[in-house]
Point group: none
């Protein structure tokens, strides 16, 4: 419960306070990842008044949309790093795709609530802007990938990334039941429908990307495509 005594007059101060709210919301959500924390809790744990929260965000859900966007940005940053690394291969990119999600479980926890809860309560205008920014990020990463693969058009790369995201999101939801029932379901018979996310994700992505290259042809260097190997490992 931090106490930020002075008022945020400057743009920088404001940005700091905004971050304070975001950080508090992030922590509280981590504490109980199945529901969004209440506005009151966020205010209290931030050491500010409830009303103040609404000076920085128009609704509670907007806070978590902002949090989600931070994750998207960080995620794609990692992805682009992997793509534009010195001599990347598909394994490394797939690894980048999975690693951030694993190390920041909050990301997909939020993403899973996104369509059912968060987007419901966010102003359409805000949401539209959010999605436009998302498109840009994805487009940029896709272009990087296209360049790496020596492709003229980036559209199929964008598709590949979106499908990878969809696959990961689906796998996450399949493999992460609500915490309160997680124990009960920790049943060996259920590994099929409740796989260990990290392994399954890598393997599934490898398969998907393998399909991509199979269809797109061998235009790109064989050195890039290591996805077959990865698949082999888990077999």
């Amino acid at each position: 419960m931090l106490k930020s005594a002075k008022r945020a007059r400057s743009a920088e101060d404001k940005s700091l306070k905004r971050d304070l709210i975001l950080n508090t919301a992030s922590q509280l959500f981590d504490d109980s990842p199945d529901t969004l924390p209440t506005a009151a809790a966020i205010a209290n744990h931030s050491g500010i008044a409830k009303g103040t929260v609404y000076l920085y965000f128009k609704s509670k859900e907007e806070i978590f949309l902002a949090l989600l966007e931070q994750h998207y940005q960080a995620w794609f940053s990692d992805i682009r790093s992997a793509i534009t690394a010195d001599k990347p291969d598909s394994d490394e990119i797939i690894n980048a795709l999975c690693h951030y999600i694993e190390s920041q479980p909050q990301f997909f926890q939020l993403a899973s609530l996104s369509s059912s809860i968060i987007e419901q309560n966010v102003d359409s205008k805000i949401l539209l802007e959010f999605k436009k920014r998302l498109v840009e990020i994805i487009t940029s990463a896709s272009k990087d990938l296209a360049q790496r693969l020596d492709l003229d058009e980036y559209e199929t790369c964008a598709q590949l990334l979106m499908r990878s995201y969809a696959m990961l999101l689906g796998l996450w939801q399949v493999s992460h039941p609500p915490e309160k029932v997680a124990k009960t379901l920790d049943n060996p018979n259920l590994t099929l429908i409740q796989p260990e996310f990290g392994l399954e994700a890598r393997d599934a992505l490898a398969q998907l990307w393998h399909g991509y290259v199979g269809q797109k042809g061998a235009k790109s260097s064989g050195r890039f495509w290591k996805i077959g190997n990865l698949f082999a490992k888990t077999e």
Copy 2:
């Protein structure tokens, strides 16, 4: 708002009332697919009392879990039909995978609420049983598929199906924003992150399955694998 005054004495009567509740819940959910209808609404529109609903289901969410299970069963029934058809090929199976989802949008609408809302409020024991039955269904379908592909082990087929499900679930969520914002987001710039589900799903699955065969080798007859063609069409 039906009025069924008589009591459900026999087992059949009970089953009928249970179905009545399920059907009512189904209709109401179709009417506003972004939230589960209230218990009161379900009771009213069924022509029964609120308390009666709880004689047949322990919680509201259990109703929708049952509904969801019906969908899973119907879906896998279709899938198995496609697999065990006279001379199936991958396109037909992929088509089966997609067709039911498209014709019964309620299915994935529910599935999307499953982890975030439904499973949260269902008794662990019930949920466990539900999931076990699910495993069986998937296993059976997987075995069918393995047999069709002339494989000794069905596990990778089960994985393939699960991954297909995950992919479809992710794509559904990506391509179906909450109704109230759907119009605002009907923006050509957003097609990347809001693709037309039917096309994208078929294409993505083809890719995934292509990857599968690529990795698993050509043990199965070449006639089965038409997925390359399908991909080619949309290219």
Copy 3:
């Protein structure tokens, strides 16, 4: 804080519980007549749960609309008694008009909040029904009056009653400042704009009714119209 243990199954029981809520609301409003009591307070002091209040009334304001209607009914009941009394004269009717308001200050306290607060938050349909019933009550009283005055048409009587109501409502608001400032304003210089309601009301009504008879002619017996005398008294 009454405790009504059993459930209201019968219509009579329900009516009793409804009355309980109304009575509690009435008392609480008397305690602080400048604002409507909260729904929580009404529930607590009734010894019932908040939700129960909403089983009997769709909104808080509806409670007070019901209370207001009771007053209208009682008021017009008194008025009609005065009109149809053995040998009524105008003074007695005017007295009836004023007496109830004086003895039940809550009536006009509510009436004064009616247009600004209560009607704002009541469902249009409910409000319409309420007003229709009001029209009927007024019409009936008007017909009584017309009969007493030996008039063929009751419309001008209805008008007279409505104008009497309007006058009384206006005078009430003028003479009853919010409690918290009543003391400060208890100033001899302000008697003009803050007259003693009872006296002023009788006098003003006498004047209005005097104008009525002056315009409508002497069709009715001179014995009825004593309003001149009344006026003379306060002069």
Copy 4:
């Protein structure tokens, strides 16, 4: 949304800014006449800061009390003009009483909120001063009227004016339901309790004034009292 950056150094500047606030408040209230606009809205639309509003008015309601006072002043100015006109008669005065109210619906919209909302939140001292000034205005007008009627004492004239005000205020509230329900109530059966204000007001005032002259005798010239005629017209 004007932008007046400079400070209000001189008394004139201050007065100008006060007027700016009043005008903005007036416009905003016209836009949604059932509730007082928020302090934030007034500030924004005035192009000044919220805090600045409170340099000129101690509370939001004080703004509207000031607005109301302006209306009272303008109204009585019109009334006195009518009274002191060359050869006024009662019809003309009654017309003056009604005309301003009709052309400035904001006046009585505010007056109707006065006792229930505005006076509640105004400092007692301010309110007292306000009311004293009101008394003076009314007194002056009353004296004008007494003079015109050749009466020695103005008190009964003051009473007549106050009663006229009360009647008009009551009629206004009766005939002006909250906007959001106005349509629903636009029902021919309700004309009795929802008369057209302008017609009803003139007629009712004529009746009241008729009663006045009936009681006060014919001291004043017959030429003044045309109210009988007016009534006849609408009969």
